[in-house]
């Protein structure tokens, strides 16, 4: 198992927004996370992405117990990338945005150029390398955010409603890219969505959350 979450809770003030007794995530699979607004989906993704620390409980990642110290979480974040529901691009060009994570990882200039070219091609944004990020449309922003995440070759990709606010054409492009990277690079993907057709066409397994609790404690499986 890639992740094993046990007895995880997360509170905002006195309100418990997440209460998961057991959750297991297998490497190389695509998971859909379903649930109404406010069910705790984003909070769960934040915890899986090591951006938030649970109030109680343990997380096993690659069979090791996660230490919630900042330095330890920072190292883990280099393997898990989250794309927000409304991703934001840094000021500057598309190239600079995709380069950000690579620079942090001290990847050489030559290698960076190759990776950026490859990932932008993968998401169909090759022609926008030198475009200013703030001038892109919503769909283009979403695809550049995806390229920026993929450039760092993550083990896990967490996507919070990756196709919300996108037109049909851009939705299909994002879904196809996610499917492709899972097949080719064996990246584990978890995405939240409200669209059932995306769940059936993309996900291998599905989790449902309601009021912070897993409605389907063990992942429900789909056969494609």
């Amino acid at each position: 198992m890639l992740y094993v979450l046990s007895k995880i809770t997360r509170k905002y003030g006195s309100r418990t927004v997440l209460d998961i007794s057991l959750m297991e995530i297998e490497k190389g699979k695509i998971y859909a996370l379903l649930g109404p607004n406010g069910a705790g989906k984003t909070t769960l993704l934040n915890i899986l992405g090591f951006l938030e620390v649970p109030a109680t409980g343990d997380i096993l990642y690659r069979s090791k117990t996660v230490n919630f110290s900042e330095s330890s979480l920072q190292n883990l974040r280099k393997e898990v990338v989250m794309i927000a529901q409304h991703p934001i691009l840094f000021t500057g060009t598309v190239y600079k945005n995709v380069e950000f994570g690579l620079k942090i990882r001290h990847i050489s200039q030559k290698k960076r150029e190759i990776i950026i070219e490859e990932t932008l091609e993968l998401v169909g944004m090759s022609n926008f390398v030198q475009a200013q990020a703030h001038r892109l449309s919503g769909g283009e922003t979403q695809r550049v955010a995806l390229a920026r995440a993929l450039a760092v070759s993550p083990e896990v990709l967490l996507c919070d409603e990756p196709t919300s606010n996108l037109d049909v054409e851009n939705q299909a492009a994002v879904i196809n890219t996610l499917k492709q990277i899972n097949e080719q690079r064996k990246i584990t993907i978890m995405f939240t969505t409200h669209y059932m057709y995306q769940v059936s066409s993309l996900a291998h397994h599905t989790f449902s959350l309601d009021y912070g609790k897993l409605v389907t404690p063990q992942a429900e499986s789909f056969n494609h």
Binding site: G49, L51, E70, Q74, R77, K78, V80, V81, M82, A84, H86, P87, I88, F90, T91, F100, G101, I104, R105, Q132, H134, R148, A149, V152
Partner: protein, 231 residues
């Protein structure tokens, strides 16, 4: 009305004749204000950034104190610094009173809270998603802070420009700590006050015009720079 038009015409003629006295005063003003803005920025920007970015006990009180200091009258600062640099006081041996250094010290105290509070405002306005995005891409605290700083840079530049605008137009500190000595500590504002006392409006009007043109020029450069960077 006649007095105003006559003074303005004479002032423009004085400027166009490149009068050495006018330009000596302008040079002193620019030098003193530039140095104090530089030092206040070197201290105020990191201070504002640390306050806005960090989470620590007493943060709110610190911001309230800085906001309160925005209302400090220049004469109060002048008096405060005077009590440290006058001949018989603790720093009297340094012989700072009625020097440009004394004006710089007073002006730093005046604009440090401006730079710090406007930097806090600029950082606080930055979307939380920038921090989260940098973190999820593997950035450490320092790298994340750099991202926030970069995104807030126009707000920070605006803070520095606002501080320079405040300091070049102040009169109380320059008068009390500089002493308005011709060629040494006479700034545009102290010279204008002196000329007004003498009933001579031509030099005062000339300096007023230069002050406005300078202010306009600085803002023009800032907007030009901002426009170029965003396109």
């Amino acid at each position: 009305m006649e007095l105003l038009t006559d003074s303005l015409i004479s002032a423009i003629l004085l400027i166009s004749s490149l009068d050495p006295e006018v330009f000596s005063i302008v040079w002193v003003s620019l030098k003193v204000s530039g140095i104090s803005t530089l030092f206040a920025s070197l201290m105020g920007v990191p201070l504002g950034f640390l306050i806005a970015y960090g989470s620590f006990k007493g943060k709110r009180i610190l911001i309230i104190c800085l906001n309160t200091m925005l209302a400090l009258p220049t004469v109060v600062i002048g008096l405060f610094v005077y009590s440290f640099v006058s001949r018989r006081s603790i720093l009297g041996s340094l012989d700072l009173l009625y020097t440009q250094k004394a004006i710089v010290i007073g002006q730093i105290i005046l604009i440090l809270p401006i730079v710090a509070t406007l930097t806090i405002a600029a950082i606080s306005r930055i979307d939380e998603r920038y921090r989260k995005t940098a973190m999820t891409l593997g950035a450490n605290r320092r790298q994340t802070a750099c991202v926030i700083f970069r995104e807030a840079r126009f707000g920070i530049i605006a803070a520095v420009i606002a501080a320079f605008g405040r300091v070049i137009a102040e009169v109380g500190i320059s008068m009390m700590l500089g002493g308005n000595a011709k060629g040494f500590t006479r700034t545009m504002t102290t010279a204008m006050a002196l000329e007004y006392d003498k009933g001579e409006f031509i030099l005062a009007a000339a300096l007023g015009i230069i002050l406005l043109v300078l202010s306009f020029g600085i803002n023009l450069v800032f907007h030009f720079f901002q426009g170029r960077t965003r396109t």
